[in-house]
């Protein structure tokens, strides 16, 4: 049940981000950046990141349970799907940072 409640933070962060864009469109870019620098927003981001990561980890585990892969005669275990997807998460995250910020 915890996993279902963490989805609230997934949605809330999206809504706050849309609100931030509205500040930018109706005001200025600095209004958007000031929202991100607000201590309450930083605290919320930390909480949202923890819950989003929890949501992701349980999602990866569920994927392994619902759609196990057959490799030869063996069927993959949920923890194997979790491990592979966690590595993928790190690779994807680095790729995003490299493509959008570092490049």
């Amino acid at each position: 049940m915890i996993r279902e409640w963490t989805s609230l933070f997934v949605a809330l962060f999206s809504l706050v981000y849309i609100y931030g864009l509205s500040l930018w469109v109706t005001g200025s870019r600095s209004a958007f950046l000031n929202l991100l620098k607000n201590p309450a927003m930083i605290a919320f981001s930390f909480i949202a990141l923890i819950f989003t990561l929890y949501h992701a980890v349980t999602w990866f585990y569920l994927l392994g349970q619902v759609v196990p892969m057959k490799i030869g005669k063996t069927t993959s275990k949920p923890w194997q799907a979790l491990a592979v997807n966690l590595v993928l998460l790190i690779v994807v995250s680095y790729l995003v940072i490299w493509l959008l910020v570092l490049r």
Binding site: E4, Y17, S22, L89, I97, L100
Partner: protein, 127 residues
């Protein structure tokens, strides 16, 4: 019978989008939260005070697509899951109302997101 078939198909499509949103929220949302909500305000890697997250919104087409896909997908996934979780904790009799409110938030949120991104990137449709 035909009506039931249509409803079942719509449910399948919605659950399909929900799953896609789940993959997006799992793989892309953590890095977005880190970049915009933690790394930038605290001056951590990769920003280190040089750039700011507004670069994601107006810097490149790839950045705009990343913001749209991540926020829209996560919004759909989060609201869809949360409203069905509410029906599982005793609010079943309010299911229709919760679904209506949930889809309204998703619809308005995604339309506003697309609108804001287009306003901030006036040359985007031409790309």
């Amino acid at each position: 019978m035909r009506e039931a078939h249509k409803v079942a198909r719509l449910h399948a499509i919605l659950w399909g989008i929900f799953s896609l949103g789940g993959m997006i929220a799992a793989f892309l949302l953590p890095v977005m939260i880190y970049l915009t909500g933690i790394a930038y305000p605290l001056g951590l890697w990769p920003f280190n005070g040089s750039r700011d997250p507004s670069f994601l919104v107006t810097g490149t087409l790839l950045g705009v697509l990343f913001v749209f896909v991540t926020v829209a997908g996560s919004l759909f996934h989060g609201i869809f899951r949360f409203q069905s979780a509410l029906t599982e904790v005793g609010l079943l009799r309010l299911k229709r109302g919760l679904e209506a409110v949930g889809y309204l938030i998703i619809f308005v949120g995604i339309v506003l997101l697309a609108y804001y991104l287009l306003v901030l990137n006036p040359s985007l449709p031409a790309l």
